[in-house]
């Protein structure tokens, strides 16, 4: 399939990532046919694209949904309404395979977990660890709950503002729940906390799964967009800001939950202490409001001094400790996204909401992987490969990969990340191709074009916005750099090979400004 899109593409690239993502901004001076007509994410693709699918051997293997007709509505419960559309992952992974593009879309590493983590899973099958093959305690495998408790008390929250009496009274049995990855923790939490009609606040852009999970729980997603400040092209955290007044305006008597994600997917923003204290202050005025804080990227920090990771549960002397569930997982930290070990830590009455649902949904999460992570957490704090800890080593590795991606985008001559300077380039794009009736948001179309023509796949962030704010994503693409160097270098070559013409900085800057503030 092909796209009808603008002849002239002005591109500003700014380098904004603080963890896995690099947001590249693309600007169109002529809108062309790329209009955001379709507000409900039912973006169709050709059956041909879908059928292509993936082979078993492909590690990106996410099968498209089958092409049989949708089941009759009399048969299925209403909770499936609206969930029949393919997710952005179902669209782009097969497309990447079909066009043999370098997939910098999906956020998982293309390398193995570290040896010491793998060794621990092996140990969990040893006779000495027999219990690791049978049902875990439903709420959480106790060795893991204990290891988590110790890690938060001795390391993660040790220097935080959480009052010491709360910190030292943290109990593995009552203050911790584990589940099948944080997505599952969120599912259980929302099912346990949200009643039909409740509102759930999501900060846009948001991890796309959140909004569907909210609806599954009978809740109504309410969107509050992060705003872009074009004058602050320093880093993601400065570029994307949260207007506290705007957030406050979205809170009503029906607001039950606020989902916070820091470090933030897809922007890479890390919420700083002022922002978190501001949110905490606001939330504390609403004692029935619960914050679900998704912190899975917490260890992927590039400047711990300047931009540390802070848990909102701890700020202002634990001001909203009683209203917050802090969530994280092993997947991103230990490069084992397929192990699905996620957890929540928080006050007992909120943990119970998760465990109450879990006992009927999962019964209990997988045991051997929980068991392995319980020991991996301890080992990760020790000196590793010449670094003070595994976490320091991890960040150093990602820093290097981030550099390769920055250079790749820079050398391509079309997308120039800049920190702090900004370069703006205007380019021509090809107009030939089959006509299509498909209408989709611009970033979606650009991502498809980048895949099919340039041979690099990035994720269109409009997938992470609610229907009213899709346009805010028009000029962005999300690139992942959790890939090995050869992959990144190949992406670099392909971006370089495609010659994007340039425009003058000032005119494009003006155009961009106008565009982004609309």
């Amino acid at each position: 399939m092909a796209l009808r899109y603008s002849k002239n593409l002005s591109i500003i690239a700014t380098f904004l990532s603080t963890n896995l993502w690099c947001s590249a901004f693309l600007l169109s001076s002529e809108i062309g046919v790329l209009r955001n007509r379709n507000h409900n994410k039912h973006f169709s693709t050709t059956d041909e694209d879908r059928k292509e699918g993936v082979t078993e051997k492909d590690s990106d293997n996410i099968s498209p949904l089958s092409s049989s007709p949708p089941p009759s509505s009399s048969l299925l419960s209403k909770r499936l309404d609206g969930l029949d559309a393919p997710t952005v992952w179902h669209e782009f992974s097969p497309l990447a395979v079909k066009h043999k593009s370098i997939n910098l879309g999906q956020g998982f590493p293309d390398w193995d977990p570290p040896r010491f983590v793998i060794e621990e899973l092996k140990r969990s099958t040893d006779p000495e660890y027999n219990d690791a093959n049978q049902y875990a305690r439903s709420a959480a495998h106790l060795p893991l709950a204990e290891a988590l408790r110790n890690d938060y008390v001795d390391y993660q929250w040790k220097e935080s503002d959480l009052p010491t009496d709360i910190l030292h009274n943290l109990d593995a049995v009552t203050n911790i729940a584990t589940a099948t990855g944080v997505t599952n923790v969120l599912y259980c939490a929302l099912q346990g906390l949200v009643n039909p009609g409740d509102e759930v606040l999501l900060l846009e852009p948001y991890f796309d799964i959140y909004s569907s999970q909210v609806k599954l729980a009978g809740g109504t997603p309410i969107y509050c967009p992060l705003r872009s400040d074009i004058s602050k092209l320093v880093g993601a955290s400065e570029f994307f800001t949260l207007d506290l007044d705007e957030l406050a305006s979205k809170i009503t008597t029906k607001t039950k939950v606020l989902i916070l994600n820091t470090p933030h997917n897809p922007t890479g923003k890390i919420f700083n202490i002022d922002e978190l204290e501001g949110i905490a202050n606001l939330v504390s005025d609403y004692p029935n409001l619960i914050v679900l804080s998704d912190e899975v990227y917490q260890h992927l920090l590039f400047d711990k001094e300047k931009e540390p990771h802070i848990s909102i549960a701890t700020v202002n002397n634990g001001q909203i400790w009683d209203q917050t569930l802090t969530m994280s997982s092993a997947g991103k930290t230990f490069s084992c996204t397929g192990w699905k070990v996620g957890w929540a830590i928080g006050p007992a009455h909120l943990i119970k909401a998760i465990t109450a649902v879990q006992q009927w949904c999962n019964f209990s999460p997988v045991t051997p992987t929980q068991d392995a992570i319980s020991r991996a957490l301890v080992l990760a704090r020790r000196p590793y490969e010449g670094y003070d800890s595994y976490y320091d080593w991890l960040v150093a590795g990602y820093e290097q990969k981030r550099s390769i991606l920055i250079d790749a985008l820079e050398n391509a001559g079309i997308i120039t990340p800049a920190m702090p300077r900004m370069a703006v380039i205007k380019s021509e794009t090809p107009t030939k191709g089959e006509a299509t009736e498909t209408i989709m948001p611009r970033d979606w179309a650009l991502s498809r074009w980048l895949t099919t023509t340039v041979g690099v796949t990035a994720i269109p962030p409009s997938a992470f916005y609610g229907p009213d704010n899709l346009h805010l994503a028009s000029n962005t693409l999300r690139f992942a750099f959790c890939k090995n160097e050869d992959t990144l270098l190949e992406a670099s070559r392909r971006l370089e090979d495609y010659h994007f013409p340039t425009v003058s900085t000032s005119s494009a800057a003006a155009a961009t400004d106008a565009e982004l503030s609309s």
Partner: protein, 443 residues
């Protein structure tokens, strides 16, 4: 929420440390080839099953499952569209109910039932409707035994019990065979009854067939059934009955079969119209189930057909192992004065025995336990089954589970559960011997 039979007896277990025949999981390792499969999967950097996999199920695993179910069902199963992988059979049930049940829908459960079902039905907004299995004691005379002594028997599904509650409001029927807690194997006639009842329910009604114990059929039915799967002797897959493929979601898991309940690898198999909605939900539940576990199971499945420990396959070995343990427990219980099923005449599967205390045992239960107030017990009061189990756990040194949590509160009040306790034999021979020793004290 609140204390349950599990939390209560767990607590008692920890306080008094009795021999534990309560928990429904083995106290031995999975077979070596399964453990090796997990280790190999973990160490395989070529395949590297450490990252996200397909939401609907890891390709290597769904291919293996489709291969086997194609044989079971005698039809070609499409791995990509007719199989879904879940976190254990529990989640397979949960998701099936979530896709099917709307507020006001009724779901039929046969009593006694695995207690998880009730709350899963309610969570989906449905109303559980109970169809009792009737206990029919054996009628043959036993020398030296009082006529009114407690006896073993069969659990039977009667046509009118089922037909009178099935209606167009019925959205699902949960069939569990082999059955927890009775061990019953539903007969072909009973399954045909269920199939027939679907006509009363209407075209939208679906049967959820929970078959997790199907490879532990220690007392297969005597009559040969044409519906038996050639690779799962003694078990009739409900979906393989005429016309039933399209009306059934078949659910099973690796846990009981491979003594690996902690792997939590379960699945649904069925027509695409029923499986597709589950596929649609899965990304939002957890995105995908554990890749490394799915890969380990895929490899284990291809190995389980090989000769094992002197048996033609691992499945043969498993059945023989459980048959032997069953006999050990049957002897111990019978000697102590319990009435149990006669597995020469009553087909049985799974690893539980629903045992009935004889009169002597009933008389021995200390008064303080009987009808004692207990928040966790159905009705808030410890009836005979609960009292017996509590006494046995605290003072006799053997932990069993009362049967009342597996019955509806109405039937409990009628006394249907009073004379039954659930005893597990998925334990090492040493553990069962220790249980026998404790039981001997009761005489």
């Amino acid at each position: 929420t609140g204390p349950t039979v599990w939390t209560e007896f767990n607590r008692i277990g920890q306080e008094h440390n009795p021999v534990n025949l309560g928990q429904g999981f083995p106290d031995w390792l999975p077979p070596k080839f399964a453990v090796d499969s997990l280790v190999e999967a973990v160490l395989d950097s070529a395949q590297s099953p450490h990252q996200y996999t397909r939401s609907a199920g890891h390709p290597n695993l769904v291919n293996q499952l489709a291969r086997r179910y194609s044989i079971h069902m005698r039809k070609e199963i499409d791995p990509m569209n007719e199989v879904a992988v879940t976190v254990g059979a529990s989640q397979a049930l949960y998701l099936s109910l979530q896709t099917l049940v709307r507020p006001g829908d009724e779901v039929i459960l046969f009593e006694p039932f695995f207690d998880l079902y009730v709350n899963q039905v309610k969570l989906a907004g449905g109303t559980p409707v109970f169809v009792p299995l009737r206990f029919v004691p054996y009628t043959d005379k036993i020398d030296g035994q009082d006529e009114d002594e407690v006896r073993g028997g069969d659990w039977v599904l009667y046509r009118d019990e089922l037909m009178k509650v099935v209606s167009p409001r019925t959205k699902a029927i949960i069939l569990n065979s082999p059955h927890n807690p009775t061990g019953k194997i539903f007969t072909r006639t009973e399954m045909e009854l269920i199939a027939e009842s679907l006509d009363l329910a209407g075209p939208d009604c679906v049967v959820l067939s929970d078959e997790v114990y199907k490879y532990i059929i220690h007392a297969p039915p005597k009559e040969e059934s044409v519906s038996d799967s050639p690779i799962c002797a003694g078990h009739i897959h409900f979906a393989s009955l005429p016309g039933m493929w399209d009306r059934t979601i078949t659910i099973s898991s690796a846990g009981k079969t491979f003594s690996a309940t902690g792997w939590q690898a379960g699945w649904c198999v069925g027509p695409n119209r029923l499986i597709k909605p589950i596929h649609q939900l899965l990304p939002y539940i957890q995105f995908c189930a554990s890749t490394v576990i799915q890969e380990a199971l895929a490899r284990s499945l291809s190995r389980a057909d090989q000769p094992y420990e002197g048996y033609a396959s691992y499945y043969e070995y498993l059945k023989a192992k459980y048959t032997r343990k069953r006999d050990l427990l049957v002897d111990a219980l019978t000697e102590a004065g319990f009435a149990v099923p006669n597995y020469d005449v009553t087909p049985g599967g799974g690893f539980f025995i629903l045992a009935r205390p004889g009169k002597a045992i009933q008389r021995s239960i200390p008064e303080k336990y009987i009808l004692a107030k207990n928040e966790a017990a159905p009705g808030g009061v410890a009836r005979q089954d609960w009292a017996l189990c509590q006494w046995m756990a605290e003072e006799v040194g053997l932990l069993c589970i009362p049967s009342s949590p597996f019955f509806s509160s109405e039937r409990v009040q009628e006394g249907a559960a009073d004379s039954f306790i659930r005893v597990a034999f998925c334990k090492t021979d040493e553990t069962i011997e220790a249980a026998a020793a404790a039981l001997r004290q009761m005489k």
